[in-house]
């Protein structure tokens, strides 16, 4: 009863590379409309590439070009037909796919890195808004678990969620950014400080270990611990000051 659905999906996801008339799903259709199957396949490929480019991989498109990104996504979904309900979740295996696809291709490896960063950013933008903490609970590091890192280029400063999001949608070019805001080309730490606000600070190169620890999923406390473990007590103090400053700015906005 449902066999035609399996054949349709195989045709659509390009696993069945035969022409519409030769395909298994073609046998279920009246002859006069078989050729229109191509429209479904084109629509599917167009939808998965456009949806992902417009949301997660916009910066990849700026960097590598629309056509290249579309080709890469088409190859990826042909090799690994999506099973996740959410298209964005379906793309999570893309970096791994790119890294195993062609280890010699500089563009593929760069795309893999960019894709990973873009997805980190997307997860941040769609994650649970933290509960606003009472001012009295501000200073201790255990409360700073709300901090989430992202290693993408963002304007430094203290912004409303909406403004930070709008900025992240703009091409990474200074002329598109609001006046008075500059692009920090180094690593940045993006703090989701309250339900509607982001704080963004540039992180000195010396604190790379700290940022990497956050990106790996450690809490701020643990990341500071990593610095201390490496004998960088002074840097650990610097981080504590920086975080206290960030959380202070959050308190001012309450």
């Amino acid at each position: 009863m449902f066999d035609y659905q399996k054949q349709f999906l195989e045709w659509l996801t390009a696993l069945d590379e035969r022409t519409p008339a030769e395909s298994d799903i073609g046998n279920y259709l009246n002859e006069s409309s078989v050729y229109r199957l191509n429209a479904y396949q084109e629509s599917y490929l167009g939808r998965v590439t456009a949806s992902l480019s417009e949301t997660i991989f916009e910066s990849c498109e700026h960097l590598f070009g629309k056509e290249f990104v579309a080709q890469v996504l088409a190859s990826f979904f042909k090799a690994q037909p999506p099973t996740a309900e959410s298209l964005t979740s379906a793309a999570e295996a893309l970096p791994h796919f790119l890294r195993t696809l062609n280890k010699e291709s500089r563009d593929a490896l760069l795309f893999a890195d960019m894709a990973e960063i873009s997805m980190l950013r997307w997860r941040l933008l769609t994650s649970v808004d933290p509960i606003v903490v009472a001012p009295s609970a501000s200073a201790s590091l255990s409360e700073l678990r709300l901090v989430q890192p992202a290693a993408f280029v963002a304007p430094s400063g203290h912004h409303s969620l909406e403004r930070a999001w709008e900025c992240s949608q703009a091409p990474h070019d200074e002329e598109f950014l609001p006046e008075g805001i500059f692009v920090e080309q180094r690593g940045v730490l993006l703090v989701k400080a309250s339900a509607w606000e982001f704080s963004v600070v540039g992180v000195p190169q010396a604190l790379e270990v700290f940022v990497s620890s956050l990106v790996e999923g450690r809490t701020v406390e643990e990341a500071v611990g990593c610095l201390e473990h490496e004998g960088s007590d002074e840097l650990a103090d610097l981080v504590q000051q920086m975080m206290a400053q960030l959380m202070g700015s959050r308190l001012l906005s309450l």
């Binding site: 399996k6 429209a39 479904y40 999506p82 769609t126 808004d129 709008e166």
Partner: protein, 276 residues
């Protein structure tokens, strides 16, 4: 015709432009755009706009009501959460399948419409309505291919599902037009097959021409024939309901991210004038 019930589909590309609109009409929220968001801008903008809107309807694409795979509990749970938060007057998806053996298409794929498919869909609509605790509506889709084994016209199929489950019909006038034209049928005659008593919502949208057939793209202006068909539907609805005012939400869909909201709203106003 109470135009207060008219509205547009809410699209992320239009979030900033809505700030400048003083009277927000009925908004159709795309369930699949919100289901996987736990926080952040999309939910924030939606919450801000919903409180200012005349009404809210919720529309999905990923339920897979006609598919063989079990209904996704996570999808349904997410949907129930959205229903609970936004209190939409209509909750809907499409009469189609979107996945098979776990592989997703993110497309609205046509079903073989016969007696066994009818039993299958009826059973699943019952399950969905029980789970959500509210009436569900199913939309007719645009078709480009037809199956040898299909035996029941889509309008009759949907009307029978509605009769047996109590679900509603989301009547997409553009889809009726596209499917009819693609198979050399009269759109008015196809409309006759729908039980208008069950219609809970109406969609109107643009389509484009692809080779020698029509394709439901939602990225063009609504064509004159489709506006005429909508006017006819509204008249029939009014007659079927004893000339009562028809308060069924009529939603204009435009999925082209490059179309400014202002342009969508102008088309929406012109459409209302055409249907007076």
């Amino acid at each position: 015709m109470p135009f207060e019930s008219w509205g547009v589909g809410l699209r992320p590309a239009h979030f900033p432009e809505w700030k400048n609109v003083s009277q927000i009409p009925v908004l159709e929220l795309m369930a699949d755009n919100l289901l996987h968001h736990k926080g952040g801008p999309a939910l924030w903008h939606t919450r801000q706009l919903v409180v200012r809107a005349r009404g809210v309807v919720l529309h999905g694409i990923g339920l897979n009501i006609g598919g063989a795979d079990p209904l996704s509990q996570s999808y349904l749970s997410g949907l129930r959460h959205l229903v609970s938060e936004f209190r939409p007057s209509v909750v809907s998806d499409h009469l189609c399948f979107t996945q098979a053996l776990g592989v997703q298409s993110y497309e609205l794929l046509p079903l073989v419409l016969n007696r066994s498919a009818l039993e299958h869909v009826v059973e699943r609509v019952d399950a969905v309505q029980n789970f959500l605790g509210c009436r569900y509506s199913l939309e007719n889709v645009s078709s480009y291919v037809d199956y040898k084994e299909s035996r029941i016209p889509e309008g009759e199929f949907l009307s029978e599902v509605a009769r047996r489950t109590g679900c509603g019909i989301l009547l997409d006038v553009n889809n009726v037009y596209v499917s009819a034209k693609n198979f050399a049928r009269d759109p008015e005659a196809d409309l006759e097959r729908y039980n208008l008593e069950s219609v809970t919502q109406i969609h109107i949208a643009g389509h484009s021409k692809k080779d020698d057939f029509l394709f439901d793209t939602h990225d063009e202006a609504v064509c004159a024939d489709v506006w005429t068909l909508l006017k006819s539907v509204l008249q029939k609805l009014s007659q079927a309901r004893g000339n009562e005012q028809v308060a069924v939400p009529v939603i204009l869909e435009n999925d082209n991210p490059d179309t400014p909201l202002a342009q969508v709203l102008v088309e929406w106003e012109e459409g209302k004038r055409r249907c007076v």
